[in-house]
Symmetry: C2
Subunit: 447 residues, 2 copies
């Protein structure tokens, strides 16, 4: 539908700014936004690679530069027309003649769509990680992954909680809260670095991925416990058991039923004749498992990972990896740029020196707590440090803690700021550190 | 972020239904909606192919079945919570505990996102058509394409307008209006059928594509003329000249500047080292050209088509075609299913027999008007009928006429209904007819 600046003036005389006009403008705006995200992510990634840094770090920094801490071109969660960044306000007003309220509608919708594409991006990323994983290898490293996940949850939680109580005189509940926020690893960044370096299928890679899945489940259980603790002052053991049970049932179910189901899919695919015959059924499977995982209380990415894992086992695995690659290339940068864009460095405005020390303490515990997992590995030929470093990034679950905390009076602002600083630091240091540790081990093997 | 039925009840006690909760639910809903679209499009396509019908017809019918004329699973333009289809209402209420107004937010957002993905779908489709076209061939058939486009605009416009005035005693302005709605070909369906049959690169294929591009420009000019006629009662020749000029400048500019720019892109791509090094710059180029086309008053698809056309000329053309294919496989079905879903058979509720006769008249003129283009071709070895049939589908531009018409008192409802019937009929008959005509010519060549 044509809708130029010349043309819209004509139409505007016939009817007032209609929903369909807003939708047409929204299409323009999303085309520009996606182009911008593509452009900065590619520039960021290429510069980092030239500097021997991981590509994903470039995408994150590109996001910071255009995001809430930078140029304000990609900002999320604007509630009011007055809050729309000036550049956008001017653009929507001068180019499209939108008033404040219509500008808010377009801006809001655009950010929501980008956010959604980013969510789908990480679902597709973990689907690819599943496709590049090996179920047999993953199960064989299962016990080690379980230990890594357990140690990586207990150590930062204990160190964090006790340190805050005895070192900073923080009361029990906010201390437990902050300790809990230190537990869950965010797998996206580590998976991307491992994938880019072709190390997903190594034993270390599979331990990290396996541990991250288990750790995600622990994170959700802890979140439920802490939420219940804050709300009612007590812990409901029935709900803990229920959550663990449902996670185990989902994972085992997805793999057992999935293996039968994928055979069925593959058999149908062979008889299909239209375009997308393999990719579309595979993505239906991934999206539905992501949906189910989400519904039973897990993260979507566990579902799409499981889908990739069982599809990798079929004889279509290799073909599917090739088909998914261009889709990943397009949608995953949106995720990483959004992570960067949402990084609010302004939240790190520590009011006092004690607040800063508290934040540094949490960052150190976050790092040491996961490095401790290295010690727990018994296989001496492994690159243990890589496993520990790979588990360091914290993300969404930590942010959920921060947002629940902000909504209550029980958790002081200094703790919220410290949690955010912990997430930012662990997110941004991991790519380079992990790459360094993996490179070193490659060189040692060569010499 | 985890948000199960168990879990959300806990969070709900801490804070009221927040924006982030709505966003989480929106993610669930979009995962289900996309899975549903994928599923029905694949089932529809496969059934049609088994029945020796074109795949795209199956996707359109699948859309009708789940759309506004069918199961109401994919409905667009709901203004009020009370209008949300029952299935959705129940689903959002029972599963997510949403009240009416939150349900409307989620439902509305979901439909807008799907609509947007559908718009991006047709942009990507025409990008692929451009990639599979040949600029030299297209320019060599230029004169013939120009004739086809001109005849295909003049004949239906004249037949339609005069027929309505003298046969149905319709006044001049609504008659001109209906005549104008008959002019612009919608290229998506024909391009898909040609592509699926590997006939995009034939002379006939290139004539159709070239004619559709020119015809699109004519359509926009006519739309401007008629809109101005309805509004002011007179035709502004300066704006006609302006629109034609801008279209020519855009097309020539996109190709000339594009050819230089793509050389630059290709040179950079060769030095890039990160994933998506070819696909992402290519899509930035396509999206930006689509945006510019839209801004200067043309359709987005002309921009992405031009981008594909110049990129096809580079030595990365073949590689790019392979990378774009899986993306097309995923996003294009969303477009065709949406076209089907938006098809409102209820609008065909003709109140009187005369209304039905009027509609049948418009359908016949729409078909005959484009078949007349066959006669205008001078190259006797061509499959002329295929060119004529390929130009038959009408779409978006016709719908714009219908929506402008509904907003004025000048155009009677019977004409609006007839225009909608004309669009539906031409959309649904073309795939099979075109396939038949092309198959026949293949068989004749073989014998």
């Amino acid at each position: 539908m044509p809708q130029s600046w010349y043309f819209s003036s004509l139409l505007a005389e016939i009817a007032a700014k209609s929903d369909s006009e807003i939708e047409t403008i929204a299409l323009d705006v999303i085309l520009l936004t996606i182009s911008l995200i593509f452009l900065v992510s590619k520039i960021g990634a290429e510069i980092c690679v030239k500097l021997k840094l991981p590509a994903v770090l470039g995408e994150l920094i590109a996001g910071v530069i255009i995001g809430v801490s930078g140029a304000h071109l990609l900002v999320f969660g604007i509630g009011d027309a007055a809050d729309i960044p000036n550049l956008w306000q001017d653009f929507l007003h001068n180019i499209y003649g939108l008033n404040q309220s219509d500008a808010l509608r377009v801006f809001d919708f655009n950010e929501q769509v980008v956010s959604l594409l980013s969510d789908i991006g990480v679902i597709v990323l973990l689907f690819e990680v599943g496709l590049e994983s090996n179920l047999v290898e993953l199960l064989s490293v299962g016990p080690q992954a379980l230990i890594v996940a357990t140690v990586g949850v207990i150590v930062p939680f204990t160190l964090g909680t006790l340190g805050l109580i005895y070192g900073f005189s923080i009361p029990l509940i906010p201390a437990v809260f902050a300790g809990a926020a230190l537990t869950a690893t965010s797998i996206g960044i580590t998976a991307k670095v491992l994938g880019d370096m072709g190390q997903l299928k190594t034993t270390e890679g599979q331990i990290i991925i396996g541990a991250a899945v288990v750790d995600d489940i622990f994170g959700i259980v802890i979140l439920a416990v802490v939420a219940s603790l804050i709300k009612t002052g007590q812990v409901r053991f029935d709900s803990i058991i229920y959550l663990i049970l449902i996670a185990v049932v989902f994972l085992v179910g997805a793999i057992v039923v999935g293996r039968i189901f994928t055979r069925f899919i593959v058999a149908i695919v062979d008889r299909m004749q239209t375009r997308g015959q393999l990719l579309i059924p595979a993505l239906i499977f991934a999206f539905l498992l992501a949906y189910i995982a989400h519904r039973v209380g897990l993260e979507t990415i566990i579902g799409s990972f499981a889908a990739g894992l069982v599809l990798a086992e079929t004889d279509k695995g290799e073909q599917l990896r090739q088909l998914v690659a261009p889709v990943v290339d397009l949608i995953v940068p949106i995720f990483f740029v959004c992570v960067g864009a949402k990084t609010d460095l302004g939240a790190l405005n520590f009011s006092d020196r004690e607040g800063l020390i508290l934040a540094i303490f949490l960052v150190l515990v976050a790092i040491i707590g996961k490095l401790a997992t290295s010690v727990s590995l018994w296989n001496t030929s492994l690159n243990k440090l890589a496993v520990g470093v790979g588990m360091i990034p914290r993300g969404e679950v930590g942010l959920v803690f921060a947002s629940i905390g902000s909504a209550t009076d029980l958790v002081p602002d200094s703790i919220i700021a410290a949690i955010i600083m912990m997430i930012i630091t662990t997110t941004f240091i991991t790519p380079s550190w992990l790459r360094l540790v993996l490179k070193k081990s490659e060189q040692e093997q060569l010499t």
